[in-house]
Amino acid sequence: MSKRTLILAFESSCDETSVAVIENGSKILSNVVATQINSHKRFGGVVPEVASRHHIEQITGCIDDALRIAKAQYSDLSAVAVTYGPGLVGALLVGVAAAKAVAFAHNLPLIPVNHMAGHIYAARFVAPIEFPALALLVSGGHTEIVYLPTENEFQIIGETRDDAAGEAYDKVGRVLGMTYPSGKQIDDLAHTGQDTFNFPRAMEKENNFDFSFSGLKSAFINTVHHADQIKETLSKADLAASFQQSVVDVLANKTIRALKQFKVKQLILAGGVAANNGLRERLDIELKAFPEVKLLKAPLNLCGDNAAMIGAAGYVALKNGIHADLDLNADPSLEFEWYPGMEK
């Protein structure tokens, strides 16, 4: 018997169609990502119905490429893993339908994967995850701190009360006249400016692990509009630097608070905004105060949505006996459970 466990993984929760083949949960044999960014740029953000339509165009081509690049046959596969939530329901349905069809046709176990578990497991491609661990998950749709007591258990200890950090980046980018998505542009610009505006740091003093970014967003927009009205030109670099400093301060502050309360072996940084250099640099510095905690950052090329991370999380779920039947449905508002006693 071969020792290889190959998982064919699907991800289609937002605007990336992705199919990957992952060996033993830790080695990427292929990770095909078809991104729709150029399409949604036309509309200044992701249009769900357009996203779903693109997924259908791409799905079998991605499966084909993923198997070909991995040099894998269906008979080599051990299971099929798929993101079933959270995300855009129409987009999720395409991946779920395709994964079920492949699993059924080849008699393979079907593993349902929470997209956020996928983001966390992107870090698995750097090093094995050691438990207990904490994960700071920051993306366009989510901002949360998750406690991982043991393998395949995920418990939220704090999350954003309003906008996700990535969402705030995109809105601020629009005000600065940047094209969608603007996270990378703001990050680059921020490195050339200074924090001169001193935007608010929401909920900094509150004794919890929750975030809020809507106040920051409003303060930013008001500052720019006010300057427009009095025909004053503000430094875009300083605006970007000030905005980013506030976001990074809030994220770092709550993460440190969590590290003080939860004795963990690792801190995992994951999600689309985990590619932000300002945030990565800041956590490197802050973690010096916690020598017993290893910082595990998702690789830059796996911070965005991709099926490799779903394959890694799916491998762990498979090991723990998780599988779904052919009636698996998409769950657009799927969430981890909360840490006992810490419900929102």
């Binding site: 169609t17 095909v32 990502v33 078809a34 991104t35 729709q36 960014i37 150029n38 399409s39 036309r42 509309f43 249009v47 119905e49 357009v50 779903s52 339509r53 693109h54 997924h55 259908i56 165009e57 791409q58 799905i59 079998t60 081509g61 991605c62 499966i63 084909d64 490429d65 269906y74 129409g90 349905l93 395409v94 779920v96 339908a97 395709a98 079920k100 069809a101 492949v102 059924f104 046709a105 080849h106 039947d325 052919l326 009636d327 698996l328 449905n329 998409a330």
Partner: protein, 243 residues
């Protein structure tokens, strides 16, 4: 040839397996709208009833639209992925043609239609001529009034088909006062997977990777964008890129 047919383009769900012109098994349900939950288990059940494995199927036939976007997504994705993964043929059939083809031969015009909301419909007009169903009006997205106006100009009697037809009976009464029309009885109002296999049997297989639903309508965002960007393309290869 062994055929598997799937129709989830509207509220009813129909799955059938046929061998050439013989029906082996069929399930048609109208109880739930959640095709994502029911489709794959139904396919498994129908194959089992037909005493076949999925790999025995030579051709997958799917109702390609028009219809509900969610329903089409599930049916088309499932059909194209199944055909692709077992390396067999794929054929798409008009969801409206399935209803028209199940209706017995008549001199009347057959008008299958689906509600597309806000007094709009997806509809087509067919007529039996020499044992064959001819397309009189191509399937399209139009207002119910516009459809009635087109029909009012015809001499033939009209038969509307489909469960949504009754919703428009008041409008028919107003718009088609001078015309002889009727709504087909319930027994013809639901799609039949077996009819779908027989239509799909006669068609040429498609290129699986390019296969998408026939929505017959752009999304609102795309329509608006095209209005503001007359130079823009409805579809461009650069919109989606593999990285």
């Amino acid at each position: 040839m062994k055929l598997l047919a799937i129709d989830t383009s509207n509220q009813p769900l129909s799955v059938a397996v046929a061998e050439d012109n013989k029906l082996l098994a069929e399930v048609t349900t109208c109880v739930t709208k959640n095709h994502s939950v029911t489709l794959m288990p139904t396919i498994k059940e129908v194959l089992k009833a037909a005493q076949l494995e999925i790999k025995d199927i030579d051709r997958v036939v799917v109702a390609q639209g028009p219809g509900s976007y969610t329903g089409l997504r599930i049916g088309v994705t499932t059909a194209k992925t199944l055909a692709f993964t077992i390396q067999k043929e794929l054929v798409g059939v008009s969801s409206l043609a399935i209803l028209a083809n199940a209706y017995p031969q008549t001199d009347a015009l057959l008008v299958p239609l689906f509600d597309a909301r806000r007094e709009n419909v997806f509809a087509a007009v067919y007529k039996w001529q020499k044992d064959e169903l001819q397309v009189i009006l191509e399937e399209q997205h139009l207002s119910i009034q516009e459809l009635c106006q087109k029909l009012a100009k015809r001499r033939e009697r009209i038969i509307f088909i489909g469960i949504d037809s009754n919703k428009f009976s008041k409008i028919f009464q107003v718009e088609l006062t001078m015309k002889k029309y009727s709504i087909a009885p319930e027994q013809f109002a639901y799609p039949s997977g077996f009819v779908l296999t027989q239509l799909g049997r006669q068609m040429k297989p498609v290129q699986i990777s390019d296969f998408v639903p026939r929505y017959l309508r752009l999304t609102q965002a795309e329509t608006q964008w095209l209005q503001n960007n007359p130079e823009g393309k409805k579809y461009d290869e650069s919109y989606v890129k593999k990285i």
